[in-house]
Symmetry: C2
Subunit: 181 residues, 2 copies
């Protein structure tokens, strides 16, 4: 057993994602994480200042994934601003559905309080897209768009809502319906 783990930071994040996936953010503990990886309880501190710092890193991963998906969708959608915007919205909802753990972490109140800039980064992409797209018809255009996005993702990502609403499998048709203006 080598003294240096060699890849601890990455494995901490990976294991943390697993734990969050099936126990939620609240079930995450630095010490149990260390146990899972077979290192001492003080080891994680060398890579993450504290629990909040680890969660922030996990959230940053989530944001990066979301950004990546949205950017890819935008590229694929071509040059029409309206089409790009719609594609980004779909990509965001898909991200929420496909990676509920990451999505849940990014949007977790405990995490948002510490790093509110995460969401800001995501929004920046939308704002850009909106800014370059439609002339503002009402004063609340941006807010309305964001609300649609947030609501669609929240409902589509939550198994409880899905069961309640009878939308077990999230089709493109459903997403479009949720996002439809």
């Amino acid at each position: 057993m080598p003294y240096h783990h060699g890849n601890l930071r990455a494995e901490l994040l990976a294991r943390a994602a697993q734990v969050v996936a099936d126990q939620g953010v609240e079930g995450l503990s630095l010490r149990s994480l260390a146990r899972d990886l077979g290192v001492s309880h003080g080891a994680p501190a060398k890579h993450f200042r504290d629990r909040a710092d680890l969660l922030a890193a996990l959230a940053a991963e989530g944001v990066a994934v979301a950004e990546q998906r949205m950017a890819a969708a935008a590229v694929e959608a071509g040059s029409d601003p309206q089409a790009r915007l719609a594609a980004m919205g779909r990509a965001y909802v898909r991200f929420a559905v496909d990676e509920p753990s990451l999505y849940g972490t990014v949007n977790h109140p405990e995490v948002c309080r510490v790093t509110p800039e995460s969401v800001t980064r995501l929004l920046a992409g939308w704002i850009d897209a909106i800014g370059g797209s439609a002339p503002s018809e009402g004063r609340y255009e941006t807010a309305t768009f964001v609300a649609r996005m947030v609501g669609a993702a929240e409902v589509a990502a939550d198994p409880g809502w899905r069961e309640l609403l009878g939308i077990e499998d999230v089709t493109d048709e459903l997403i479009d319906a949720l996002l439809a203006a």
Copy 2:
């Protein structure tokens, strides 16, 4: 100093609401609550089985308040089903904005995992309203409606979003824009 506090359960809930309001759900601790109220650390256990039980009670309060507001709004809106539904939507968003602490508790992941039925109760009111109102135009009518509601409340209740979107004061006009079909 009387041995029996006399009103401990209610005061625990009240103080808990305060703490949640300015420290979030994560900042809530049974022991500090007991200290705040001048009782021993074991006292809360006589009224709430554990921390989750207290949070569930707090969430139940929140759901009750929301239901009450929505019901009142529905009554005031008269008999037209469409108008009643719209009024309930507005009332829900107003609830989220006026009582961010209760709203946040009801929708907190930690709480939702334990008592998913809270949201179900709220939805029941909407479903009723919807069921009695419009003929279904698409297969996802209910889901779309719920997504709008959830998104509007989420955005309107979050100071971070509000600042980002430049919608500091939540007017009726804004709410209608967020909910507009």
